[in-house]
Amino acid sequence: MQHRRDFFTNAFLALGGLSLPGFLPRLSAAQTAPLAGGATPMRFIFMHRGNGLFPKVCVPPTLGAAEQEKEKRNDAFEVDLDKHRLPAWMEPLEAHKKDLTIIQGLSGKMCTVGHHSWCSSLGVFKANERPSSIKWATVDFELARLFPSPMEHIELACFPTDGGNARGSLDGIAKGFSARGPQQPNYAFGSPKIAVDEIFKSVAADKTGQVQYQLQRKVLEFVAGHETELARRLAGIEQRKVGNYAGAIDDIRERNRKIDLMADTVRRHVPKLDSKYLAEKMTTLDRQMGHAEVLLASLISGLTNVVSFTVDELGHHYSGIPGIEGENVNMHDVGHGKVIGDIEAVEIRRRTELHHMKVMEKIASRLKSVPEGKGTMFDNTMIFYFPNSGETHHAQGTEFPFIVLSGSNSKLQLGSRYIRLPYWGKEGHKTLGNFYTTILNAYGNPIEHYGDPDVALDKFIRDQRGPIRRFLG
């Protein structure tokens, strides 16, 4: 087991190289400062998937009659998970049950739902393919800014390749599902290989990678020198207009220098990917596992504290599904209930979701194996699994089920519970905005409310702002 304490201090100050905003930090004052008192950062993993997640499949099968009746009526209630079995597809999480919370009843009607949702489910606004629709930084980026790291944020994706949200390639780098700020889409890595090449390029072993790295350093040095020289000749506001830019370039160079200093540590954590994760024709299931390896390496090496992971999307063609391994399954068809290879659509969903849980389990188990402070790295981690477009294929946004694994240092009081919150329109109903506000408030962002309001909800709940107080303890 690799102990991480040795390189934590430096880990906050380093950075990759010149290239993609996906792993370039926002240069803010907050980011340049390490966490107060050298505190251990929290890590956040947002695993979201397309095509909806049926609320009914998230219900423990061992609920009593009264609870089942409440579930049927969408009435609020909660039970301890240790007294119940998990749904079969969640069984990989059995070993983590004490850290598991299933939250039902959060709505997101203020999001774009249906086939595609773009940045909606992470940003809580109506988004579409145009950057102009992005209203603000998505919640994962807000959290990344609370827990600064060299790369700030990393996004991985199993890209859609058709439908209304297609990317040009499964394996490339393309616009992702997170946003850095207003009108600023983030970029995601499509394949484990390209993610490793880019994230760990400061310690690249191959010559091309080394040359690229050297050239990028050179250009930054040149531009910084040029702009600094220009700024030196100016004064007052004009000086600031160029000086800030020159300063920002210098910040990147300084962080590059520091990331170079932690090269040994980073090198130790470069994921040694199995050849199946590097293959040109990789199955979706392998791609997901490969991404999990990159995600773990990025977190454990300290390069980032926040990872967003698009596990799949409606326009993604699934391969490797057990029982129909040879099929290239169009998830849109599955959404419409099509039988493929004699397997019902619901069962296809179940098999893919089971695999998602295996991925989640792998992440949790690995983090539990990395010592940190008096416990493990998992103690300082929250993993969220949820649908990015609501309760079903053609969702209305009334339900966004969340499956959450949280470590013991989590500031959210969730517990090992199945929690059904009041349904949309009922007193006490909560939205995605309330949930994200809760998380942000818990970790130090005092925002009054994160996200757009649900205007249709206004006639039932006049003030829908603020956190879910019971989760704040």
Binding site: R26, S132, Q183, L215, L230, I249, D251
Partner: protein, 829 residues
């Protein structure tokens, strides 16, 4: 009193201490007796040790380092300037005491380059702090100028500049660049949004790193393909297969060369990149620096990658993202320099559109024909007459959210968009059910209802600008609007004539029961029309029936339909009720007319569509009663009289409203049995609230005649479950209370116009007659075209623009010409 003595002692300490320090900037501040006296008399009782309210301790100033002292004095300066201290209930300094101290503080802080107030006053929200009466008094004789500046490019200019790297429009240049993200965002707000006070920062750098990487890849892509380094089909992103057609031969030469390039080849490449990106030639030092970078990078990464690093570095120059306006040549007697011709050509071009200068303007600059005010006038008039060079969407940056409107000079129309702020309607989400179930929020693939409303407001503005007569007053008072209107009147007339002809010929036939036979028997009547064509094949009967039922809804009732049938593909125009006009049919009305279950239509009376537009609408008066403006200045579920009033105070009356104090939780209380006005007045009538709300409520409340969707009303629905009295069209009907639209107007500069107003129309009529309102328009136009707040020294420019407007019969074109040939535009200092 102890603290007062302490302050007096403190002053002496500073004075004595100052002698010892050599560095001017670090010398302690010497407070003159006037200022220290004012602090002692009015401030230290609350702001001294042991009683330092708001953590402001004036007594301990002497213990502070110079930075702390300046910070404290900046705070004092702001309180004096904005008159927020001493508090209302405390003793107040006289105007003379206040202004003497404020002037000294400002001069002293400026001398040290530390006046934060000056920076604040550059912000758009503080424009009205320049005294309006003084500006238009004629007593200011200072020579106008704009401070020499770097002005960050707007999002629209950035898009053009980025595209220009790949050659002029056309020639295979895409409308937008796949891999380029605009690093700039303008604030979502009513009012002029693009100012010169923004600074390039780390956020823009991060976006530019990706942009520059993508652009430089594309710049060498063609050459690399030619060189056999890669193939289009091997590009990692097959959605991004564009290979620019315009790339420099100089880049080709280096990429295709099998050995290291010569110095001459590198120089050519650097020149080409400067021309494409910075649109100028590099000087000798730049050439040398970039040539060295290219050579070094080629030594590391080979010709293609090495060259690309140079391209990338030029793309990362801050100059790519700034407009430079420093002036050149000898300074005049006021210390001002005229814009260099090249700077002037860009300044002019960016004033009227988002593109750089056209060939003629560049030529004028190069040939010494952009050196005088007359030169500028000639070029401004020429460019205003040119209807094609700048022609573009009013704001391509909003593309997709708002129905696109192409105009000849987008910046001129954009001024009115920003001034009135009606595009903000697309940002206010509504509950569709409250909007008769037909209101549609903007979403993917649709601009929604507010998009149509914004488009119609754009068209109204454009029609008034085309007349160019009494523009401001007409914008405020016109009762003629443009609604729907998707075809020119001559086309609309033709369509209606054809439809009437068909209906007249066929209405007596058994078209409902035997449509196929009627179609066959009446081929002649159905054929030969320019705008009506029945499709052949399986959909013929369906289309025939849909049209006949559609005609039956209108022609026998003497009503004219909208010139597009509601079953047309992609049709979702149904917002006429938000103008209080009768509805138009929804697509579903005729959707099933050919099915056996179709039982006929109800007797709804639809809107009698005016083919000729603009047309008169009752109970409306100008843009401020346009549903787009009213929606833009509303909340999600109710109106917003405070915001509407503030808009009028600031935009039309050149007035000021203090910021909401941080201790105020600005919420209107719930009460399901009272109107919003009653609830608002109850909560804002308290002494500490009304001192600000008096500037807003009386101006905004008259607009309670309109609901938050912009519908005229005399009764306000009390929208709450306990007030439901019935249902109509499946939607709840609520109890109502009468609307009280009374208000009051002040500060128009004309006592005859000030006073109580009976409703919004009365208010608007008075505003339209006020010279101050006209001058306020001019002030905002100044800010829009200069990119900054006016200073007192701009008085002559503003008065000239106002005079040009009046003398030319209310021509906005005359205002534009006047502003763009003013000293404020031409001179830098």
């Amino acid at each position: 009193m102890t603290s007062r003595l302490a302050i007096a002692a403190l002053t002496l300490f500073w004075t004595a201490g100052s002698v010892a320090l050599a560095e001017e900037a670090s010398r302690p501040v010497e407070l003159p007796p006037t200022v220290s006296g004012l602090l002692v008399r009015y401030c230290v009782d609350c702001h001294a040790a042991g009683n330092a309210e708001g953590d402001v301790n004036l007594q301990d100033m002497s213990t502070l380092a110079i930075g702390g002292q300046l910070d404290l004095l900046n705070r004092v300066q702001e309180q004096l300037f904005f008159q927020t201290m001493p508090p209302a209930e405390a003793d107040q300094p006289s105007d003379e005491e206040r202004s003497t101290s404020a002037n000294w503080l400002r001069t002293e802080l400026r001398r040290r380059g530390a006046s934060k107030l000056d920076e604040k006053l550059r912000l758009p929200a503080y424009g009205n702090y320049v005294d309006h009466d003084k500006l238009f008094s004629g007593e200011i004789t200072d020579a106008p100028f704009t401070p020499a500046r770097r002005w960050l490019v707007s999002p629209q200019i950035f898009a053009q500049r980025a595209s220009d790297v790949f050659g002029p429009p056309g020639f295979g240049r895409p409308a937008s660049l796949y891999g380029v993200t605009n690093p700039f965002v303008l604030p979502d707000a009513s009012g002029v949004r693009y100012y010169d006070d923004e600074t390039l920062d780390g956020g823009a750098l991060l976006v530019m790193l990706t942009n520059a990487d993508w652009m430089s890849q594309k710049q060498v892509l063609g050459a690399r393909i030619k060189n056999g380094e890669l193939k289009v089909e091997d590009l990692p992103n097959q959605q991004d297969r564009w290979v620019p057609k315009n790339y420099s031969a100089a880049f080709d030469a280096i990429v295709l060369k099998k050995s290291a390039p010569t110095d001459a080849e590198i120089t050519q490449a650097v020149r080409a990149q400067f021309a494409g990106v910075l649109q100028r030639t590099p000087d000798a030092s730049e050439l040398a620096k970039y040539a060295k970078l290219t050579r070094d990078a080629i030594a590391i990464g080979g010709n293609s990658e090495g060259l690309r690093q140079m391209l990338l570095a030029v793309l990362l120059e801050s100059e790519f993202l700034y407009r430079l306006e420093f002036g050149a040549g000898a300074a005049d007697q006021h210390g001002r320099r005229m814009l260099a011709p090249r700077e002037g050509s860009y300044a002019l071009s960016y004033a009227l559109g988002d593109r750089g200068p056209d060939a003629k303007l560049l030529q004028a600059a190069e040939q010494g024909r952009l050196n005088t005010r007359e030169d500028y006038r000639r070029e401004v008039l020429r460019l205003l007459d040119d209807k094609t060079y700048f022609a573009a969407e009013i704001d391509p940056n909003m593309g997709g959210k708002v129905v696109r409107t192409v105009v000849s000079h987008p910046r001129i129309n954009r001024f009115f968009r920003e001034f009135f702020g009606y595009p903000m309607a697309t940002r206010v989400f509504k509950d569709p059910e409250r909007g008769l179930g037909i209101y549609q929020n903007p979403d993917r693939g649709t601009t929604g209802t507010p998009g149509f409303l914004v488009n119609e407001a754009d068209r109204l503005v454009e029609s008034i600008l085309r007349q160019d007569k009494d523009v401001f007053a007409t914008l405020l008072t016109t009762d003629r609007y443009i609604v729907y209107y998707d075809k020119a009147p001559e086309v609309g007339r033709q369509i209606i004539a054809e439809w009437k002809q068909i209906w007249g010929a066929l209405k007596g036939t058994p078209w409902k029961t035997e449509p196929e036979k009627v179609i066959v028997d009446n081929k002649a009547a159905l054929a030969g029309h320019k705008h009506f064509r029945l499709p052949e094949g399986p959909h013929q009967k369906r289309e025939f029936l849909r049209h006949m039922w559609f005609f039956s809804d209108y022609f026998d009732k003497g009503v004219t339909p909208f010139t597009t049938i509601s079953t047309a593909h992609g049709y979702y125009i149904n917002h006429s009720p938000f103008y209080n006009l009768p509805p138009t049919p929804l697509p579903g009305r005729y959707g099933a007319t050919e099915t056996p279950n179709f039982k006929g239509l109800d007797d709804t009376r639809f809107w009698d569509y005016p083919v000729e537009q603009p047309f008169k609408i009752e109970n409306r008066k100008g843009i401020l009663t346009h549903p787009a403006w009213l929606t833009a200045h509303s909340l999600n579920t109710e109106t917003d009289p405070v915001r509407r009033g503030r808009w009028i105070r600031e935009k039309l009356l050149a007035g000021r409203v203090p910021d909401v104090p941080i201790t105020v939780d600005a919420k209107v209380p719930e009460d399901h049995h009272k109107t919003l006005r009653e609830r608002l007045e109850k909560v804002t009538s308290a002494q500490q609230c009304i001192k600000c709300h008096q500037y807003m409520n009386p101006l905004g409340l008259p607009f309670e005649q309109f609901d938050d969707f912009g519908r005229f009303r005399s009764q306000e629905a009390l929208e709450h479950a306990e007030n439901i009295v019935g249902k109509q069209n499946n939607l709840p009907v609520y109890e109502t209370l009468p609307v009280n639209p009374r208000g009051a107007l002040d500060s128009t500069g004309n006592a005859a116009l000030d006073g109580e107003v009976k409703d919004a129309f009365d208010l608007i009529d008075r505003l339209a007659k006020s010279p101050r309102v006209r001058q306020s328009f001019i002030r905002h136009a100044f800010r829009f075209f200069m990119g900054r707040n006016e200073m007192l020294s701009d008085s002559r420019t503003l008065m000239d623009a106002d005079k040009a407007y009046v003398q030319n019969g209310g021509s906005f074109k005359a205002v534009v010409v006047s502003l763009l040939t003013s000293d404020s535009f031409l001179y830098r200092k």
